[in-house]
Amino acid sequence: MNLGISALDYIEAIKNGEFTVEEFVSETFDQIKKVDGKLHAYLSLNDKALDQAKELDKKRKAKEKIGSCMGMPIAIKDNICVKGAKTTCASKMLEKYTAPFDATVIARLRKQDALFIGKTNLDEFAMGTTTEFSVYGPSKNPWNQEYVPGGSSGGSAVAVSALESVVSLGSDTGGSVRNPASFCSIVGLKPTYGLVSRYGLISYANSIEQIGPMARTVKDTAFLLNVISGIDPNDNTTIDNHGEDYLKNIDSGIDGKKIGIISEMVGKGTDNTVSSATKKALAKFEDLGAKCEEIPIDMVDYSVASYYTITSTEAGSNLARYDNLRYGFDFDLEGYEFNSYISKARRSFGPEVTRRLIIGGFVPSAGHAGKYFLKALKVKSRLTKEINAAFKKVDFLVAPTVPILPFKFGEKLDDPVAMFLIDFNTVTANLTGKPAISVPFEISNGLPIGIQIIADSMQEKSLFQAAYALESTTNLPKVPL
């Protein structure tokens, strides 16, 4: 059986009776057993998945209608709540937390009979770009296990890349879906802010983050967005997309479209190999009939500082709830005064979360807000204007997803500013709320390079068309497992 088939082919195969859900799920678990000891994509597995698969097969045999996902295996980042499953955020703080409800995206997938295979690894509370900040240890890049898989949704990218699941969900606050998608050579989408409900996603920086689909093909990513997108009364920021079908006309091509290359994102700081891959991608776009021009977006140079100021501030309040009274329960109440008790309990946070919480207290505080937080908001505001102006001239903005190639474990761990700059090309889409997709484009010396396409708000449909057109020009090798 080919575990590497796309979600759409899997669904066809089930419909045609080529194999059963049980057979496919059972083989997926065999694959996990075989590779996950090394790759560490998963933090926990769904031990009921096989029974659920059998149940679906039974229903199909009895000619009962089942949902459009037909038991398609999906892996879920461990900061998204699945009822009855542990949801740890890869943090010691939540190691014993079991979600009492389904996130909206999970409820929608469940309704369409997707099968949850397990919960995937991430940087603690999604703060990081390598999974090295997971309290359970990092995931490994299946293309070369000495290299980071990207993050923070690293486990979700590895699971899909290493055929341990057909598709997955991640969350993207500053590139956390697109970065690992690029590093592991899969497709990852950060939707328009508000297109996908965040209800049940454990908040880190809720004014800019989105749950995003991850898959091996652009079509699968569009299919997954069809299932999870749309208005939700439990998330007041959601937008009604009127049941848009993102798969329809996905092969329309991009003839006559205009593409802007963001100058700042291909300048200094971009690795030569990544630069030359980007040039090749632009040549492909031109072959497909698009017109490319360079567009400067001045505020991009300040976007990372703005991003970290805003996200740390929001993390500071979002993570205030972890006080050992409602979560944690590590030690008894006796003998402590209120503040010292909570401070002791909050030692359960790992180093990066601790640092960001301190920053999150500092940058918006009286006396410092004017220098940091308000300036960060102003940069966000100006950046949004600049990007909106760009979309008056062009249909898409393009840049490499990550300015550098995947790197080895530990390489950037001691240099916080180097870590910041990995996000240089991805945070703009979050700060401006625009949709952005990473498409695998090249494998250079065994290391993947992804190209990022950004579109205007709610233009996912044309974004997928551009991504599909680019994907069609590539013929990438299989992951060396």
């Binding site: 505020m299 300040y302 205030a320 009274l325 209120f338 030692r347 601790t354 505080s365 966000k380």
Partner: protein, 89 residues
Amino acid sequence: MLVSKEEIEHVAKLMRIDLDDHTVHIDRVQKMIEYFDILDKAGTESEELIINEQPLENLREDKYEPYGDKLIDKLKHYKEKFVRAPKMV
């Protein structure tokens, strides 16, 4: 501008972060905040802030919906419908 370690330690305390063995964090936090100085060069002083206001009628109806499970059972320190917390004074 270098932010002083004392300032950072003060904020850490307000954020309820116990710094007994965290001196290593202070250095790194200092470096991170120092990077944010770049915001001074953005030239956005005159920029107006976008404030996202939501009229009340856009919010979902404020009505009680009973939850299936007894969530309080998931807590460790509780009595009837009260959560037990450490002494305030």
